[in-house]
């Protein structure tokens, strides 16, 4: 059967139906609309300045590769900021090896400088080693904390004033619901896609926060990126998986649910924001709101 004509250009056959807006888009209009969406998000949250040096956290997955490509294009057309890819090697045999190859290939084809940092170099250990030890917390809890530190260190190392991560609309909506379900109101303020200026931290921004994961996957496919085949062997975020499944089901039944959830989180976020007194970790000297930073707490357990 023949698809309807694109509702935007009214010339080409459409390839994608955007249920939450009713648009039917051809490949060209889909790519262009995604770029415009990311541009609007950057402006809405005042993410960059002219001449920013942007470190993009690139894992080798479809979201971060797509974001890297879009930021290179957008910055060439607008702010003229420099874009550098920073990748963290957590030390997960098989899984990360494949991703590092994908990052190298993508950066080479986009002409982007690429920096790799590793848990081994920064913390003297790997996720394979951490996973093999007796632990009180899930592997994802360790990996998340160490990755955030590693990305910040890598961004500082390349002289970046912004650190862009490829959190999608789905990630953001999941985080809003997770914080509510866990009663973790303090974490709501970290959802600000424009980031916060804190001493010792490169400001983290999320330019993909209004891009549904489904559209990120389509964009990566249309861009010809190779999709990573090996799943993380330690992925065990049970509660996030439950929330992900629930939101996807709701989105299928009631298109727009993800946007509503995310925007509701943004509306309540200012009431959760408080001035954070930053001190320095007594063990490693890195900035932290307490006496001992979370990285040292985890690695010394």
């Amino acid at each position: 059967m023949e698809p309807p004509t694109c509702t935007k250009c009214r010339v080409n056959p459409s390839i994608y139906y955007r249920a939450y807006s009713g648009e039917r888009l051809c490949a060209g209009c889909f790519r262009e609309s995604l770029k415009e969406r990311v541009k609007r998000t950057i402006n809405r949250f005042n993410m960059f300045e002219h001449g920013s040096r942007i470190a993009v956290g690139v894992s080798g997955g479809k979201d971060s590769l797509g974001l890297l490509k879009l930021l290179v294009e957008i910055e060439e057309e607008t702010h003229g900021s420099e874009v550098v890819a920073v990748t963290v090697d957590e030390g997960i045999r098989g899984y990360r090896d494949e991703a590092l190859r994908l990052v190298k290939d993508a950066c080479s084809s986009l002409g982007v400088e690429s920096i790799i940092t590793s848990f081994r170099d920064l913390f003297g250990t790997t996720m394979d080693e951490i996973a093999s030890r007796g632990r009180e917390l899930s592997t994802c809890s360790y990996c998340g904390v160490l990755r955030r530190r590693a990305l910040n260190e890598a961004a500082k190392g390349v002289g970046a004033d912004r650190l862009a991560t490829a959190h999608t609309l789905d990630d953001m909506a999941q985080s809003v619901l997770l914080n509510i379900l866990r009663g973790d109101t303090g974490k709501m303020r970290t959802l600000d896609p424009g980031g916060i200026d804190l001493e010792g931290f490169v400001r983290r921004v999320k330019p993909y926060c209004e891009v549904p994961e489904r559209e990120s996957a389509l964009y990566a496919y249309l861009s010809g990126f190779v999709f990573q085949g090996t799943p993380c062997p330690y992925a065990e975020e049970a509660m996030r998986n439950d929330v992900r499944g629930f939101l996807k089901e709701m989105e299928a039944k009631r298109p727009g649910t993800m946007f509503v959830t995310f925007n509701t989180g943004l509306r309540v976020m200012p009431t959760m924001r408080k001035a954070e007194a930053i001190d320095h970790c007594r063990l490693c000297g890195e900035p932290t709101p307490g006496n001992i930073c979370r990285v040292c707490q985890l690695l010394n357990k």
Binding site: M1, Y17, A19, E213, A217, L218, Q228, K248, E249
Partner: protein, 94 residues
Amino acid sequence: MLVKVRLMGLLKERAGAGEASLSLRGGSSLRGALDALVEMFPGLRKTMGDLAAANPPQGILVLLDGVEAGNLRDLGTPVRDGSEIVLVPVTHGG
């Protein structure tokens, strides 16, 4: 009729092959093609079952001759002899 299938990322890994050729009865739908695919590659059963549970499936992009199934008649869309189906995982690998 013959239909070609291309599998991306995790789906390729689970199937152990990136491409397949399906022999289907005339008038088959996308759902019938996906059922035949799982029959051919039992390693896909769990992943496809989870990802394609909803209609339209939310955890997977199903493209028929370059058009996403949600832009057609979802999994009820009829396939033609010589069609190409591409399956792209959505949830895995951010």
